[in-house]
Amino acid sequence: MDLDFSAAEDRFREDVRGFVQARLPPAVRARASRGLSPTRDDYLSWHRTLQERGWVAPGWPAKFGGCDWSPVQLHIFEEEMARGDAPLPLPFGTKMVGPVIMEFGTPAQQGLFLPRILSGEHWWCQGYSEPGAGSDLASLKTRAVREGDHYVVDGQKTWTTLAQYADWIFCLVRTDPQAKAQRGISFLLIDMRTPGVSVRPIITLDGAHEVNEVWFENVRVPVGNLIGTENQGWTYAKFLLAHERSSFGGVGRAKRELERLKGVAYSERRHGRPLLEDALFAAKVAQVEIDLMALEITNLRVLDAARAQRALGPEVSILKVQGSVIQQRISELLLEAVGPYGLPFVPERERHGATAEGIGPPHAAGLAARYCNERKLSIFSGSNEIQRNIIARMMLGF
């Protein structure tokens, strides 16, 4: 048993850290340190920078353009990206549809799509959830009817993250309306520019436009865009879910936010002393820091086990629950730290162009929006209630 990183891993971490420091544009870093989400251009320009270094999808096999990195290396990579305020590459291409195409796609699909994920030419989004089917994917209703060389798709997806920027969407669609539940579902790749595809923004309670509805009306999709076999989509979806979860704990990001919390609580004053030295507040910060230490080790244990078993088990549900709780807790404490100056509220889209931060200390700007936004962490990608169902069923045998 050894909980330290190897010398090689330490050197690797230095490499990544140096790369981020040297190459991340100051404007991108500045936006992140103001608590703003990356813009579309931030994502794309950083994507290209990573691509130059070959680090867009380092978890992929080398033969598809990845780096064959170990789970621990991927962990270090993501931690250093978060630490350096760099935008994390969006998972939809690299961690979701990419692995599915590698495992189940035709050589033609692999040749078409994988290089364009790496180059950034294709921005992907995910078409899983539907208005009537949040955590219950098996009840989805979007239909795809075969007509000659095409599927004709009708229906609606929702909670589609950043669909407004996406070039392609991968969808679960119902190809056999007679079949029950998970059977009769297919996995389809759809060009967002196809006639009949429309995107409608969903504004979330923090005023952000991050998710969307995607509507399909008589959308003609070439049968060549079907992944694998018709009606077997559930198999590919499950495969994808297992791959998606490798960074579920959000440890790197939480560490960065904890550091931010300490900075804010150190500069805020209560009765003339740093809030970080107030006994009650210090205890709350200490508690979440300790919880995060435990989560990090559990995360490393899961990665260590995955190295042996070549697959992630249901323990990732523990990471998901605990990771979301810790991140939400940090966002609560950040808001508590600034006291009444948590009240001023400027939606993120208005802050991007602004030269000043409105009223209150600059470190307070955006904390209320962040707090609101992070409520999603326990809802999306399988709510914490669903995760507890999984833990109870898969790990305890209920």
Partner: protein, 385 residues
């Protein structure tokens, strides 16, 4: 010991209930929120016509001569409809300040106009460095030409677009001394007074205020020179009680919305309320709500009390319970609504945000928990020795 309402109280409740359910549905509120001002003078006039702006004003000044219980009843309803208009700021806190300490002349000039909705008042007391400590006053008032000159900064003044601001400033003493604070009626357009406004999390507005050599006449002083902190603290207590009642209204609305959602939303072929973990969560929401409701009663009754220690303990206890319930119910309502709870489209998120704002207003949980502990009784065994 009696929790029943009088006929008069019921009538007041009914009339306001009728008004807000007709005139302040969610879509109407959205329209008001989207205006540049962010509040509706028309609604304010309607509230004046209903008499509710006079709840805390004696009859001699045209008010109803009621008090915290009636305030609680209307704040419940305002919490439920998410009223944007500055009821607590003007008709509770600022009104109480004037009523309880202003000169007869100032009372006669302003209280009737507040009751009739012709003017809106707000207390400008907290400062950028005071956090939640009402004793921190660095703004200074200097005697000059028979009047005062005010210098300093005020923070996050609710509805600073009010017609008059009640501005506190120190004539003497250290920044956190109990004595030495005076209070002045200052018109919003007084020379030297400037605002930096913003919208807050809950769609309301607030402003940081700079006072640069603002001149006020001696007649504008509210109460004894240097002795204003007591009445300010007491009036903020009325505001705290009102806030607790507003939170109860918002929490009740969230519990109702969540229970309705759990009963109708289907997943895995059954209403999600049939999943025991979710039903128990809803039960816990109700439990928190009822504890907060109990404490809102206590806060209202004790806010009138003569014993400062008992009054402050009750108000701090009520705010602690309210803040905790607000966070739990707000978060769980969003959680149990799933993705829909995250959207701006549903009222759920707006109640959630108002409750989060209430947590940050007039003292957060730690502040009140520590005040309560500091005011705590020692054990009887110690008292006896």
């Amino acid at each position: 010991m009696d929790f029943t309402l009088s006929d008069e109280q019921r009538a007041l409740q009914d009339s306001v209930q009728r008004y807000v359910s007709r005139q302040y549905a969610f879509e109407s509120r959205r329209a008001i929120e989207r205006t540049a001002a962010g509040w509706s003078p028309q609604v304010w006039q309607d509230l004046a016509d209903l008499g509710v702006l006079g709840i805390n004003v004696p009859q001699e000044h045209g008010g109803l001569g009621y008090g915290p219980i009636e305030t609680l009843l209307v704040m419940n309803l305002f919490g439920s409809c998410l009223l944007l208009e500055p009821y607590a700021a003007s008709a509770v806190v600022a009104t109480a300040v004037l009523r309880d300490s202003a000169s007869t002349h100032l009372q006669a000039s302003w209280l009737p106009r507040l009751v009739r909705g012709e003017a809106v008042a707000t207390l400008a007391h907290f400062e950028p460095t005071s956090r939640f400590d009402a004793r921190q006053v660095r703004s200074r008032a200097t005697l000059a030409n028979g009047g005062y000159v005010l210098q300093g900064q005020k923070a996050l003044v609710e509805h600073a677009a009010a017609d008059i601001l009640l501005v506190s400033a120190r004539i003497a003493g250290a920044d956190d001394a109990q004595e030495g604070v005076s209070l002045f009626v200052v018109p919003r357009d007084a020379p030297g007074l400037s605002l930096r406004s913003c919208r807050t999390l809950d769609g309301r507005s607030a402003a940081d205020i700079a006072l640069e050599s603002v001149e006020v006449p001696a007649s504008a002083r509210v109460g004894m020179d240097g002795g204003a902190l007591a009445v300010i603290e007491r009036s903020l207590g009325f505001g705290t009680a009102a806030l607790c009642a507003e939170a109860v209204g918002a929490m009740q609305a969230l519990v109702d919305a969540t229970v309705a959602h759990l009963k109708t939303r289907q997943q895995f072929g059954r209403p999600i309320g049939s999943f025991q973990a979710l039903a128990h969560r809803a039960a816990d929401m109700l439990l928190e709500l009822e504890q907060a409701r109990s404490m809102s009663f206590l806060a209202a009754v004790r806010s009138m009390g003569a014993d400062d220690r008992e009054r402050q303990r009750a108000l701090s206890a009520a705010k602690v319970i309210t803040n905790r319930a607000a966070r739990f119910i707000g978060q769980q309502a969003v959680q149990l609504h799933g993705g829909m709870g995250m959207t701006d489209e549903l009222q759920v998120g707006h109640w959630f945000k108002r409750l989060a704002a209430i947590e940050m207003t007039l003292g957060d949980t730690d502040t009140h928990l520590q005040r309560f502990a500091a005011l705590g009784t020692f054990p009887a065994s110690v008292r006896a020795t």
